[in-house]
């Protein structure tokens, strides 16, 4: 087994961990984290599989770099939405009028 294949297998485990978290956890912030874990697993599978015979491949690496940046943007957007959701839930209670 090469280290690339090991990376891919760890990536599969991370993906499954994130997916289980996404299904089981109710809290929005932790679901965003679980979703990120899924993404990291997918990236690890892409990069690991491409270099499973020892030589790195530039194309999946470049695509994963693109994916990481998009994942950062998606996470920030998810956090903004979660924050807005939180503020609206607080606003729905009458005693939090000044919040």
């Amino acid at each position: 087994m090469t280290s690339g294949l090991l990376f891919a297998l760890v990536g599969v485990a991370l993906f499954a961990l994130g997916l289980a978290g996404l299904v089981l956890i109710g809290d929005v912030l932790r679901r965003i984290l679980a979703f990120n874990l899924m993404g990291s697993g997918a990236f690890l599978v892409l990069v690991g599989l491409a270099q499973r015979n020892g030589v790195p491949d530039a194309v999946p690496q470049a695509m994963v770099l693109t994916g990481i940046v998009v994942a950062v943007a998606a996470t920030a957007l998810a956090l903004a939405l979660a924050r807005r959701l939180d503020a609206q839930r607080e606003g729905a209670l009458p005693e939090d009028e000044d919040g």
Binding site: L9, A13, V45, A50, A58, T66, V69, A80, R83, R84
Partner: protein, 217 residues
Amino acid sequence: MKRLAVFCLACAFVVLTGGALIELGPAAIDLRGQVAAQLAASGVSHPVTAVLLNFRGYDTLLEVAVLLIALLAILAVTDKPPAAPVPAHPLLQAVARGATPAMILVAVYLLWAGAHRPGGAFQAGAVLAAAAVLLHLVGLLPGWGAPGLRLRLGLTAGFALFLALAAALLSQGALLQYPPAAAGTLILVIEAGLTVSLGLILAGLFLFLSRDEGGET
């Protein structure tokens, strides 16, 4: 019960997918060879940079557009004014002040190094954004409110420059097909614009979000 079912399904997924990965045969297409064969014509000598900005420049162009759209969406859902910065310990502020010029230098180096070794616009932009976030966390840089004209220009400059060059080069036959003689210079110009804009966008993802901090009390 639900936990057990999800746990079993996740384990089954790992075993089945892992088994498939171990049994996977060699790839049907060899992109590595194609990249190596065309590397000399790409204008840079590092294969990842060549793929990002030359062979698959279209992906990178759209990626920057995605970042801008995410930032616009964040601006649309946050409406509270920026919170007053809370100054940190003077020692932390001094360290952040000292680290910022070094981080800008590292960003410029990463941008330049991207042509021939790991580095490039995204890494350089991330370092610039980290410097801005550091300054914000020690209370030297306030969170951003509604962006003014200069900030808007800075946020969009990289994408606009990339798009303008892509449009100007359409006469070459395909989108983002650079003339080989000028490819290196064009990639550096695009990457320089992207570094500034990506630094601002990534910093903005944090600094625009931090502006409704006061809403939690």
